[in-house]
Amino acid sequence: MSPVASVHSLWTVAAGAPGKIPAPHIEYAELSPTLIVLGAAVIGILIEALVPRRHRYYSQLLLSLVALAAAFAAVIGLAAGGFGSSKAHIAAMGAVAVDGPALFLQGTILLVSLIAVFTFAERRLEPAAHGEGASPARTKGRAWGRVDSFAAQPAAVPGSAAEQAAVKAGFTTTEVFPILLFAVGGMLIFPAASDLLTLFIALEVFSLPLYLLCALARRQRLLSQEAAVKYFLLGAFSSAFLLFGVALLYGYAGTVTYAGIAEVVSDGAKQIDPALAGTMGNDALLLIGAALVLMGLLFKVGAVPFHMWTPDVYQGAPTPVTGFMAAATKVAAFGALLRLLYVVLPGLRWDWRPVMWGVAILTMLGGAIVAITQTDIKRLLAYSSIAHAGFLLAGVVATSEDGVSSVLFYLGAYSFVTLGAFAVVTLVRDAGGEATALSKWAGLGRRSPLVAAVFAVFLLAFAGIPLTSGFAGKFAVFKAAAQSGAGWLVVVGVLSSAIAAFFYIRVIVLMFFNEPKADGPTVAVPSPLTTTAIAIGVTATLVLGLAPQYFLDLAGQASVFVR
């Protein structure tokens, strides 16, 4: 059926005799990963409502882990079932694609979220009593732990008596788990969305929970709230642009399905009746619309010049959330970006490639250069994530299967490194909570060599030193770019990674070659949860660095989009 001729029909069932409402046909099995996660999220809300406070933590944790694991298993099952390759098609009446890239990215997101849940659930790092009421005696008297890194009572005004009471009572915000699950659900749909509306909905579905999560830090709540407000306003702003872009594209093609738009784009909308020639096939609409949609996605991946939110939000948000955002959001957003560019706009390649080249270069250089002078570890990592977005874009613009697979691999490799890095950040603490000021990290290598060494591994992976996953990923994307004839893009990338190396090295110097300060931070001993998270991060980093072939194959097989 030609998508253009028959309008998109999940929402409007035109066919059939009047009086009868034929149910839309949904492939529940193929959408199971998303459904499981969202379902679990709903259950999580119910738990919050019904289960007594003291049981919530464990039930929520259990629920989330089970749900995510099950969803991951479902993804594996689908992939094994050949939905990644031969049986790949567009499910849910054209709303959601089930194909290689979708499954690969969903798998990655699910794994990342699983690890993120570990860090969310960490309860050994925070002293139960802190803030004004915290006296050493109390902290000593009451063992560390039993509270996580989220606000005791988000509704309570920071510093108020209510907050102190909540803190003393040892309240915790177990709602984070269902919220997280909602976000994950949205992220699962985002890269699979195969019409613009689903894209928009998914975007909102995972953005709104993130806005909330950002606001939930237990310490430094002012920063946390500020981060939330900034993220929210800018996010809403950008999604408005995206929506307008969608509108324009719809106006251009008369449909919002990717396939439909792609078709119109490719054969300039001949068989449209001339009455609508004013809008139909009007390239201005197409180009502006495409540009606006791209902007919405570039905002999510944090590409220059739409990156301003990244450092502030990364710094203000609770570190576990930051880690989750930095990893999962990038994966989802790049997935959507790939699908948009490869499925909807291939016919437009010669228009958007140069633009994206420019964006990629700006992003690589901008991120690397500004990071040099950062003084806060979380901001530093934020800028580094911007630079990495640039490298990924270099792979995206390759417009070849190699490009797709390289980006997929890079995303997988990068997300684990990021999660691990932020997990380590949660460990380095002083009286004021996490000690994120770089100056406080001086001599960390002397105090606790192991943690410092692990962090060094992550930094080296960020820097793309050989034998780490970072190098394999970087090589893959640059290779793809070079083969697509963008050699100079590679050169710029190489130069910017040389610049980037500078600040990663600076941190290493700080940790190992500087004498520890007397009032320096201590490294808290985490529970097995965070330990596992970090361990997984390190393992992934080294395995993907030393023997990437298997995963490259995986990405390679998963690099074909269903049209």
């Binding site: 409007t12 509704a155 928009f200 809403a236 307008f244 509108a247 324009l248 609508l276």
Partner: protein, 99 residues
Amino acid sequence: MNPVYYLYLAALLFTIGAAGVLIRRNAIVVFMCIELMLNACNLAFVTFSRMHGNLDGQIIAFFTMVVAAAEVVVGLAIIVSIFRTRHTASVDDASLMKL
């Protein structure tokens, strides 16, 4: 009347909204401007839907409203909490994190 005018109107509204976001300080007002932008989109959708003679645009408009509502919920929650903390809704005061 030529449907293109509706589009112009939509564009105008969108621009006004965007301008408002840039100009106004009060978080609530900024947020309202964003809502205005969304509504501009809705207008565009409906117009196009009419031009194309299919219902997708209108359906989408409904979805947009739902999303906008959801955004309001989350947004207001955040803005209110920050207002209670700082006793101000000016977005310019929330600038602890910079550089």
